[in-house]
């Protein structure tokens, strides 16, 4: 993670009295996978809109690969791409024609189209009109489109929405793979396990502000209960505190007697963190 590919400084977006994004700062390094989490209306999509040059910030600044999003959008455009929150495809065209059109716009080689159709498993349906696709197929086409220009920085707004568990896992693998090869990824998601698995760091947004920013592990450790549940041979459940010396002695006693069947850690999940920070469950 050498230099920052995304640098955000005091970024704000107000719609009249609505402060959709209210002064956020963070940076994302090259090859990093960064997650923006938060409840509905927290400002995730608005942040992505500003970073991808489709919405002008009310204040603050943002730089993508060193270029200012307001004054140098043309330098940024070829370097980035986005999986949109909406499935904005040309429905009267086939999947292949959708990709071919964007390949021409981005001046990508035509061979890239079939390559990507293969990658997202749409080769068989490539000739069909998109309006006949299922939600998941459209989502996969959307992902293929976002990769057409081999973006150095890839934005994904709820990319696994509408995907079945297998396709969602494939996409997560794909994202991890891209990241390993140096692509910087900034994504939003409502699936906490997904964020946990994929993201190097996550930022929690609430009402347009960042309320926490760290690696998933640190967040879980900081918020989680430092305790474990011990299940004994008698099927009794005992709670032991990890920082209580008295509990350490009890644990030792059970172990010596061979009484323990299982120990479950009570480390928090990212969802626990979310509920605590955002104030309400998803």
């Amino acid at each position: 993670m050498s230099r920052a590919m995304v640098e955000v400084e005091g970024l704000r977006k107000h719609y009249g009295p609505v402060r959709a994004v209210d002064g956020i700062s963070f940076s994302v390094g090259a090859g990093e996978v960064f997650g923006l989490l938060g409840h509905n209306g927290a400002g995730k999509s608005t942040t992505i809109r500003m970073l991808t040059g489709r919405s002008r910030p009310t204040g603050g600044s943002a730089r993508i690969a060193g270029h200012d999003v307001v004054s140098e959008p043309e330098e940024i455009k070829p370097l980035i791409n986005l999986v949109f929150e909406d499935q904005n495809l040309y429905e009267r065209f086939s999947g292949r024609d959708n990709l071919a059109f964007f390949a021409r716009l981005y001046e990508a080689p035509a061979s890239r189209v079939d390559e990507l159709l293969e990658l997202v498993g749409l080769t068989g349906a490539a000739g069909r009109k998109v309006k006949t696709y299922s939600t998941g197929m459209k989502q996969r086409l959307l992902i293929a489109r976002a990769l057409i220009n081999r973006p150095r920085i890839l934005f994904l707004d709820e990319p696994t929405r509408g995907l079945d568990p297998t396709s969602a896992r494939e996409l997560r693998n794909l994202i991890a793979d891209l990241s390993r090869r140096g692509t910087t990824v900034l994504l939003t998601t409502h699936y906490m396990e997904e964020a946990d698995e994929l993201c190097d760091r996550v930022a929690f947004l609430s009402a347009g502000r960042i309320v926490a920013l760290d690696t998933p592990r640190e967040l879980k450790l900081k918020r989680g209960e430092r305790a474990a549940t011990v299940i004994l041979r008698s099927r009794e459940e005992k709670t032991i505190r990890l920082d209580d010396p008295a509990d350490a002695t009890r644990l030792q006693g059970w172990m010596v007697k061979g009484d323990i069947v299982a120990i479950h850690s009570r480390e928090g999940t990212l969802e626990d963190v979310f509920v605590e920070l955002a104030g309400r469950p998803l």
Binding site: T52, R54, F84, N88, Y90, R92, F101, F102, L105
Partner: protein, 365 residues
């Protein structure tokens, strides 16, 4: 502004739009109206030459021949030889405008210095053609009798009611004029309906957001404009082909259609931007067509007062004037340069306002 990207989007739009039922209907309606007028309206241009059917007896054949020569093109006359009774019957039945009955064989009698009797039958309340023929009889007889004509008289029909009232209708005929009005309707439909629908659909389905990830608003606008011009040229060609009309001055006509299209597309896209979705546009777009088509319909009647000002100030009013000139190959309407200027000004105003509006909306998005 990247030309290659603009053409890529243009090519996509041109292919996509014809698959949209709304687009097809918007083009088919003016085409059908044009065809309808062409098929049903009174065809010929208004011919100012009076006509006359002349019936004459065999004895007055020489006189008929002399009349035919002296009338020339002043009267579109048809001659028919018949027996004396039949000549009278033809006039009575309104089949003939003039009847000529001579008692003896006319030519020898005239040459012999006799005064042969010539009876001219004119129906009561007959037309100008008959009167003209009747008035030409005396000079013709003099010529036959060997008397020199005292003067060379030329009859010229002159339209009444001012110098050039409704010239366009007279020159082109009502049907061709209405086909031209349908051309303007077609240009209008594509500019304020079809092209804005393309843009509204991109906004509504958010594909516009995907486009501007690499392209820009001016490129998108440029592509939509080109689609408008292409569709206009194709469908106007289609309409002229189906009505078998060929503009006498093709470059003028084609230039007029393209410039009129450009003058309207800018405003069409501007108004299209105010509608959040294509169906809203479908509902309200019809109202926009009234100020677009009305000046074109009025232009041929050369209205005075505020209607005249409307014709002079609008791109479709001026466009119609140029279209009439282009179709007829004559300068029916004077000041074509001014007409072009007015259309060019609307063109600049439309696209200028559109770019300002885009900048404003971008700032707010």
């Amino acid at each position: 502004m990247n030309l290659r990207r603009m053409l890529t989007i243009f090519y996509k739009d041109a292919r996509d739009a014809i698959r949209d039922g709304r687009v097809l209907v918007a083009i088919a309606v003016p085409l059908a109206i044009g065809l309808f007028y062409n098929a049903t309206a009174d065809g010929d241009p208004e011919d100012l030459t009076p006509t006359a059917d002349v019936a004459y007896t065999a004895q007055s054949a020489a006189l008929a021949e002399a009349l035919r020569e002296s009338l020339g093109g002043a009267v579109d006359a048809g001659f028919k030889e018949a027996g004396a009774g039949e000549v009278r019957a033809l006039v009575e039945q309104g089949e003939a405008d003039v009847g000529i009955i001579a008692a003896d064989d006319l030519l020898p009698a005239l040459e012999g210095g006799g005064r042969p009797e010539v009876r001219v039958l004119l129906p009561e309340g007959g037309g100008a053609g008959g009167e003209l023929v009747a008035s030409a009889i005396d000079p013709a007889l003099r010529a036959l009798a060997g008397q020199p004509a005292p003067a060379a008289v030329q009859v010229e029909p002159v339209p009444v009611g001012g110098e050039d009232s409704a010239d366009a209708l007279a020159v082109l005929g009502f049907d061709t004029y209405m086909v031209l009005a349908s051309v303007v309707f077609l240009v209008g439909m594509i500019a304020v309906f079809v092209v804005p629908i393309l843009l509204a659909e991109e906004t509504e389905k958010k594909t516009l957001d995907a486009l501007v990830m690499i392209s820009s608003y001016p490129e998108v606008i440029g592509a939509k404009t080109l689609v408008g011009v292409l569709y206009t040229v194709i469908s106007v060609t289609l309409l002229l082909g189906m009505t078998q009309l060929r503009p006498e001055n093709l470059p003028l006509f084609a230039g007029t259609v393209v410039l009129m299209s450009l003058a309207l597309v800018g405003f069409g896209l501007l108004f299209g931007g105010f509608f959040r979705n294509a169906n809203q546009l479908n509902t309200w777009g019809g109202f926009l067509l009234i100020p677009v088509v009305a000046p074109a319909l009025a232009a041929g009647f050369e209205p005075a007062g505020w209607m005249g000002a409307l014709v002079a100030a609008t791109p479709t009013g001026q466009g119609m004037r140029l279209a009439v000139n282009g179709m007829s190959g004559e300068e029916v309407f004077s000041d074509p340069a001014l007409s072009f200027l007015v259309m060019a000004a609307w063109c600049a105003a439309g696209f200028g306002a559109l770019l300002l509006n885009l900048r404003y909306r971008q700032g707010r998005s």
